[in-house]
């Protein structure tokens, strides 16, 4: 089985992968992210980063998880309607700082983990990118 087939089989997903810009993308549901992390661990993939983007018109957030497997990038975009999803910190320790940074920058809560004091602005509130700047 190729890594692409292994991942879709593990996640029981039938939607096809899309590939562009050297990245294989597979949209997953927020509830599947821990299974994604377990699968990528089993394949010995290296966690790269999470890119969080605030969507316009209160549509929520887009979280794009990236892993590297033998020089090929695998991306898992998640459309997050609310402000909470499960942490994968216990499965993949490398996510520690980026989960904390997204928590601080976008006020997204990664449940199931403790946060140390703010990385970026000790004593401040979370969600700086969510604050509206007066015109």
């Amino acid at each position: 089985m190729t890594p692409l087939e292994t991942i879709t089989a593990d996640l029981s997903i039938t939607t096809p992968w899309s590939s562009h810009g050297g990245v294989h993308w597979l949209a997953v549901d927020a509830s599947q992210i821990r299974r994604v992390a377990e699968t990528m661990n089993r394949l010995a993939a290296r966690f790269v980063t999470i890119t969080a983007t605030e969507l316009p018109a209160s549509e929520g957030f887009l979280l794009e998880y990236l892993w590297d497997l033998d020089g090929v990038l695998f991306g898992f975009p998640i459309h997050l309607a609310g402000t909470s999803l499960e942490s994968i910190f216990d499965i993949c320790p490398a996510v520690d700082w980026i989960e904390r940074e997204i928590h601080e920058g976008f006020a997204i809560d990664f449940s199931g983990r403790d946060y140390e004091p703010l990385l970026l602005r000790a004593g401040d509130k979370t969600g700086v990118n969510l604050r509206e700047v007066p015109a």
Binding site: G21, L66, W97, V128
Partner: protein
């Protein structure tokens, strides 16, 4: 006796502000916590209000050491979104700039590591050599820190005299391989101060997702120049240096041998550089909506840019950069566990940390 020692955010052993909070039993470090963000600048957020020309200048200022690799990676991402392909000459110029930058970064690190080892003569020698590399960078770009070489579709400047640059590189290589590398790899001072300390095991390196020389010193074989080649790297031959000990000395060896490989790449690139244009000229720049991911091997390891654009917009919807130090620095916690307190400045420096990149 148990006690807690904070090192930083402002400390003589740190080049830039961050805090290593260590929990000790006597002289032995049992555990540590890292705190960053003392110089957080919100550059990713600022990028959302800059147009496609301004954003290159902005991201070049994320780091003062590896400024060129930031713009190279960003431009690669924006080239995916615009469909503009740099001409072959531009790809070679990008490799030449990237390898000169790696040389200057590794020599800078060697100087700082020498200072922390108490090897002041070596510190002076390294910084004198670094000046000469910066002279070469200045000869090409006109600048010594932010080179402003990359643009969408190629480079802003040509290398009009590759033979002169080649002569300078050959001279630099003979100086580096005649002094820095033998002293670092054979001297008793370097061996006694570096061997067996700050060990990051292979398993821990993989779990932490560390990159670059820090990962390769722990037996991880990946180098983005070879694993996911970009620019002109597919046409050039080089060897990826890997060590297995995972200690400070292994990290020193990896960087020393990477200097030799950088010189090898520079010689090939300067000899094989094709003639022709070095950018796409005044070609119309139109962005397709979507996200592009680009990565490159910066001196400290893999750098990743994720750039999103909206239809008909002049400004990016999102620019996210994952710098190598951001991936490497959490591993310092594991490196200092069990170490002597006196070794911790050298251990934290052995990952070649860049707080400027981390606090982007």
């Amino acid at each position: 006796m148990s006690y807690r020692i904070p090192m930083g955010p402002y400390h003589p052993a740190l080049e830039e502000p961050y805090k290593l909070e260590m929990f000790c039993e006597g002289e032995t470090v049992c555990d540590a916590r890292l705190h960053i963000g003392f110089n957080f600048r919100g550059i990713e957020h600022l990028a959302e209000s800059r147009n496609y020309i301004q954003v290159i200048a902005l991201m070049e200022r994320v780091c003062g050491i590896c400024s060129n690799i930031h713009t190279l990676t960003l431009c690669q991402a924006m080239e995916q979104l615009t469909g503009l392909e740099p001409p072959p000459r531009a790809l070679y110029i990008r490799v030449i700039m990237a390898e000169l930058e790696r040389l200057h970064s590794h020599i800078l690190w060697a100087g700082i590591a020498s200072k922390l080892m108490g090897f002041k003569t070596m510190f002076m020698s390294c910084f004198a050599l670094r000046e000469k590399i910066m002279d070469v960078l200045q000869a090409i770009s006109g600048n010594r820190v932010n080179y402003a070489m990359n643009r969408i579709g190629g480079t802003n400047r040509d290398i009009s005299d590759p033979d002169d640059i080649l002569a300078a590189v050959n001279k630099l290589e003979s100086e580096i391989t005649g002094t820095v590398i033998p002293i670092f790899t054979t001297s008793a001072t370097a061996r006694l101060r570096c061997a067996g300390i700050g060990v990051l095991t292979h398993e821990r390196a993989i779990a932490c997702g560390v990159v670059g020389p820090t990962a390769r010193a722990s037996g991880v074989t990946q180098d983005i120049r070879q694993a996911a080649p970009y620019a002109a790297y597919p046409e050039l031959d080089f060897h990826v240096t890997v060590e297995s000990a995972g200690d400070v000395r292994a990290r020193l060896f990896v960087r020393a041998l990477e200097i030799v490989q950088s010189c090898r790449l520079l010689r090939q690139a300067l000899t094989k550089i094709p003639s022709g244009p070095y950018n796409t000229g005044d070609a119309k720049i139109a962005f397709a909506a979507g996200t592009a991911i680009s990565r490159a091997e910066a001196p400290r390891g893999e750098i990743v840019y994720s750039v999103s654009w909206k239809e008909n917009s002049r400004t990016p919807a999102r620019v996210h950069v994952r710098t190598p130090t951001y991936a490497n620095m959490p591993a310092v916690r594991w490196m200092v566990q069990g170490a002597r307190l006196a070794d911790t400045p050298l251990i934290q420096a052995s990952i070649d940390p860049c707080y400027s990149c981390t606090d982007r």
